[in-house]
Every structure is written in C-alpha cells, then in structure tokens.
C-alpha cells in the first residue's frame, strides 16, 4: 500500500536497538495489538473473500463453490449506485475543499485572538451525535421552510431543477440534499488537516512575496496553496473515503433514487441476508477506493507527504 511511508528509518531508533542487542521488547509490545488486528481485522476480510464466492441459502447454509459470477451480477445490477456514490462523494469533497479552505485560512492567518474560539466552534458540533445533526437538516431543508422558499424566490431552484439535482422545487429527497448532508458531515475532516498545514507556513514567506510585488492572489496561488498541499491531500482523502461508503445521508435525506452503494451493502447484509452479494459488493468498493486513492496520490505527487 503506497500510503504508508515509514521508509525513512528513524536514526534514533536504529541506535537504540543496536545498543540493546535486539532484545525481544518490541515483539512483546506488538504482540497483543497485532494479534487483535489479525483476528478482528485481517481474518474478517479473508472470511468475507470466502463468503463472496459461496452459494446457498440461509436455510440450507452457504458453501464455497467459487461462484465468481456473484461479482459480475453485483456489478451489472448495482453499477448505478456505484457511480452515484463516487459522483456524490467527489462533489461533496470538492465542496468541502471550497468551503473549508477559507475557514481554515481564516483561523490560521486572520483570527488573531479569536483563533481558539473559532477552533472550538469547528470541533464543537462533533459533540452532538451526528445522526441528530443530520436529522436537523430535514428541518432546515423542509418543503416551504425558509431556506427552500428563499432559494425558490431567487430562482435558484429553477436552475437546480433544470440540472436535475433537485425536483419539483423541493430539496429534500433529492441529490442536492444528500450532497449537502455529506458535505456537512465531513467538512471538519477537511478543515482540520488544512488548518494544520496552513498554520505551519512561515508568515515571512507571505511578506517576501509581497516585497517581490506579488498581488495577494498571486501570493496565494504561488506560495500559500502549494505549501498547503499536504493538508489538501489529507483532507480530500479523509472526506472522500468515508463519503463513498456512507449510507446515512442517502437514507435520511434522500429517496430511493439517491441510494448509494453503502445502502445496497447494508440492505443486502441486514435485510435481504444475501451475504455473498454483500461481500462481493464490499470487495468491489474496497478495491475501487484503494485504486482511486493510489492513483490520486501518485498524480498529486505527494507520496511522501501522506
């Protein structure tokens, strides 16, 4: 996995082991945690792989029959949900970046003594269960509510209706509501890494850019933004990965036309009890995300930043 970049050896650690002559201490420290992860994280993935090629029924039991057609059937039947998940998650990630960047910038450079207060306001919503907060969006976006009326009177809903992201002048139970919920739920995961990388930037670099007659926008484009890339990459990953597998926003704010792949896996596993299909879908989702994430990291040239 390309995401793990612990390749640079910590010189300190090397010295230490040499001095200790290879005592078994690290193994004793590792043993309980690694055993735990092997039993409850790695083994389940193996079980799931085996389940995905089984056939049978709940009454007669499932047998491994190397029935790879499950994968093909799952893909052909549920590819709309796959594509929708990726589209919704990508849109939500882009929105998180667009909305989160100004706030992270504000906290890092312009907040002064308000910095801590703003930081608390970003983190504080976390303390209310996110399901309750997601349900609050039902109130905010309700038909005939102030938000929807305002959008309608500004003719925004005419445009979004035409684009197909809302329907019949309502926002709830449309793609817009689901993307809005996803963006809201994962926004702090974008803001925190962005803030961390912005805060590390030496303010003298901004002054230097100004001294060299760079306009504020040029300074941002040539100095600030490139230096904040580690935060951008970390933030987009922390937003995109969970958003793709999410089924809460689609369930609470969407209708049956907005079901994402997470909804399919959940209902196959917990309601239909078709375990092989659920397992195959999870595997496809996992493989797709790992492939996309690896490609993204290669492309953004930040392999050693993550």
């Amino acid at each position: 996995m390309a995401l793990v970049t612990d390749k640079t050896p910590a010189p300190r650690a090397t010295r230490r082991t040499a001095a200790r002559g290879g005592k078994p201490t690290p193994y004793w420290l590792l043993l309980p945690g690694i055993l735990w992860l092997l039993v409850f994280f790695a083994a389940p993935l193996v079980y799931q792989a085996s389940t995905s090629v089984q056939t049978g029924s709940l009454e007669e039991g499932f047998q491994v029959t190397w029935h790879f057609a499950t994968y093909w059937d799952a893909l052909t039947e549920y590819y709309p949900q796959f594509l929708r998940s990726v589209a919704y998650a990508a849109t939500a990630t882009a929105l998180c970046l667009a909305l989160g960047y100004p706030l992270a910038y504000l906290i890092a450079f312009k907040a002064g003594r308000w910095r801590n207060v703003l930081m608390i306001l970003v983190i504080a919503p976390f303390f209310t269960s996110f399901l309750i907060r997601t349900l609050a969006w039902k109130t905010i976006l309700s038909d005939g509510g102030p938000v929807v009326s305002a959008l309608a009177s500004l003719h925004v809903l005419d445009v979004t209706d035409a684009l197909g992201v809302t329907e019949g002048h309502r926002v709830l139970a449309t793609p817009l509501a689901v993307v809005c919920g996803l963006t809201y739920n994962f926004l702090p995961f974008m803001i925190l890494p962005l803030y961390t990388s912005l805060e590390r930037i030496d303010s003298r670099l901004h002054e230097a850019a100004g001294d060299l007659y760079a306009r504020p926008l040029t300074t941002f484009r040539k100095v600030t933004f490139p230096l904040s890339m580690p935060g951008v990459v970390a933030g987009t990953l922390l937003t995109f990965i969970p958003a793709t597998g999410d089924y809460i926003n689609a369930e609470l704010l969407g209708s049956t036309d907005q079901k994402m792949i997470g909804n399919v896996i959940q209902s196959q596993f917990l309601r239909v009890l078709d375990y092989p299909t659920a397992a195959a879908l999870s595997f496809i989702l996992m493989a797709a995300i790992l492939a996309m994430v690896t490609a993204y990291i290669r492309k953004s040239g930040t392999e050693d930043l993550v």
Binding site: T25, K110, I140, I241, P242, Q266
Partner: protein
C-alpha cells in the same frame, strides 16, 4: 497589503474594495455558520412541542422534554449502554494502541512496514466494508451479536487512531531526556514511568479522547455488529423511522453544552497556568 495600482472606478468603489479585502473572512464565517446551524436547530427544537410523532416542524415552546429527558422508553438505557461501550473501547484501544505506537516509534524490527500497513488499512477503508467483514466473521463463528461484538468492533477501529496519535508524540520526543535519566542512574522502569510516560501523556490522552468520541458516536459499524442491542446512535436511527422524540434533541443539546463547558474550563485553567 500593498497599495493596488489605479483600477477602473467601478471595481475600486468602496463596498467592492471592502468585499475584496474581507472575502476570506466572509467566506470563512459563512462556512462556520453552515457548520453550526444544525446545532442551533437541534437546540431550538429541544424546546418544541410537536403535534405528531416527528419533531421536524416548529409548533410551540415547551420545556416538557427537558423536565423529563428519560420519558421515552429505551432512550436512557441506550445512552448508558453507549457510554459503557465507549469507556471500555477507549480503555482497550488505548492500551493496545499505545504499546503498538511505542514499538513502532522506538524500535526497528522485521516486518515493521507490514505492521504499519496493517495499522493504517482500517483507517483507509470505508466503515461499511470493515463493518460487513467483521459481522461475517461473527456470523461464521456463530457468535451471538450484542454487547461484546459491539465492543470488539469498536476497539478494532479505534486502535489505529490511538496508534497514530501516540506515535506522533513519541517520535517528536527528545531522546536525550531518557539518556539523561539513565545517566542519573534511573532504572529502565523508573525512566519509563518518570520521564517517558509523562512526556507521551498528551498523545495518549488525545488518542483516548478520540476513541471515546468515535466509539460513542459510531453508527455504521455498530449497525452491522449489534444484533438487537440498541446503542444511542442506533436509537436515533430507529427513531428516524418510527418518530423522533424531542428527548433526543435534549440529549444532543446537553452533550454539546457539557462538551463546550469542559473545553472552555480547560482553556481558562490552561490560560491561568500559563500566566502564573
């Protein structure tokens, strides 16, 4: 900000200039409003008296739910179950994760990079995949779903976050402090207890707090591994189908208020300590 060269009159009129200068502040505050708005709604609607089963539309002011927060069947039971699971998951994940973090930060050993990958992968995977695979294991093993399966699932996904938090802290520690302790004839145990552990403590605390928050609020993994056991997020999920009692807003608001008060108190104490 350097003086801009002369621009067309329309662009440099006063309100436009003000907007341009404060664009970041305005956009940032708009995002903040977007983040905080649902909490405001949750708080306001905890004083609502809805007509039907659902608490989505404002009817009239009432403090009924606040005077009777446990008035809904199973609500407070699910809350206390969530708290118990969060406490034990935090303990388990913190102990296992801290040991792993020390091993990774301090020692070189064979298979070190595979160990890092194994710890990293649970965080790089959508929750639903991990949830479904763990539930598959429990099903195959014939384990009954309930308290223990939820606890195991929570420890598993919190573990990686603890490792990340503690490892960062231990890596940034000055090794000379420990060498100094050894030069002053401290035994390895004394060095660990008196020097290493106090320095690593903020990282361990951060990992523990994160675990508690993640476990308490987790829905997806619990959804797959709970069977018929109902944690607080499961209760809220169920209520979205059956009817949302005002009491869940009361609990959401109370949690928010308690957390903000704790953070403010911590800030005040920290600020005072710094000054003295």
């Amino acid at each position: 900000m350097p003086a801009l060269p002369a621009r067309p009159a329309a662009l440099s009129s006063r309100p436009v200039r003000w907007l341009r200068r404060n664009f970041v502040v305005l956009a940032g505050l708009a995002t903040l409003a977007y983040l905080v708005l649902p909490n405001v709604i949750v708080t306001v609607f905890s004083f609502n008296k809805p007509n039907g089963r659902f608490n989505y539309e404002w009817q009239r002011f009432s403090t009924d739910a606040w005077t009777d927060p446990c008035g809904v069947a199973d609500l407070c039971g699910s809350l206390s179950l969530s708290l118990q699971i969060a406490v034990w998951a935090t303990v388990g994940a913190t102990v296992l994760g801290t040991a792993l973090a020390f091993a990774l930060a301090r020692y070189r050993f064979r298979a070190r990079s595979s160990v890092s990958t194994l710890i990293f992968l649970p965080m790089a995977m959508p929750e639903v995949v991990m949830a479904a695979s763990l539930a598959t294991l429990f099903l195959n093993m014939g384990v009954t779903f309930g308290f223990w399966t939820i606890l195991i699932a929570h420890i598993t996904f919190c573990l990686s976050f603890v490792v990340t938090a503690v490892k960062a802290r231990v890596m940034s520690m000055d090794p000379r402090l420990e060498q100094a302790a050894q030069d002053l004839y401290a035994t390895p145990l004394q060095t660990f207890l008196r020097v290493t552990l106090p320095i690593a403590a903020p990282g361990i605390a951060a990992g523990a707090l994160l675990s508690f928050a993640l476990s308490f609020d987790d829905f997806i993994i619990t959804n797959f591994n709970a069977g018929s056991t109902v944690t607080f997020p499961m209760f809220v999920w169920g209520s979205a189908q059956r009817g949302t009692p005002v009491q869940i807003n009361v609990i959401g608001t109370a949690m928010f208020a308690i957390a903000v008060l704790c953070v403010l108190a911590g800030q005040l104490i920290g600020g005072r300590r710094k000054r003295s």
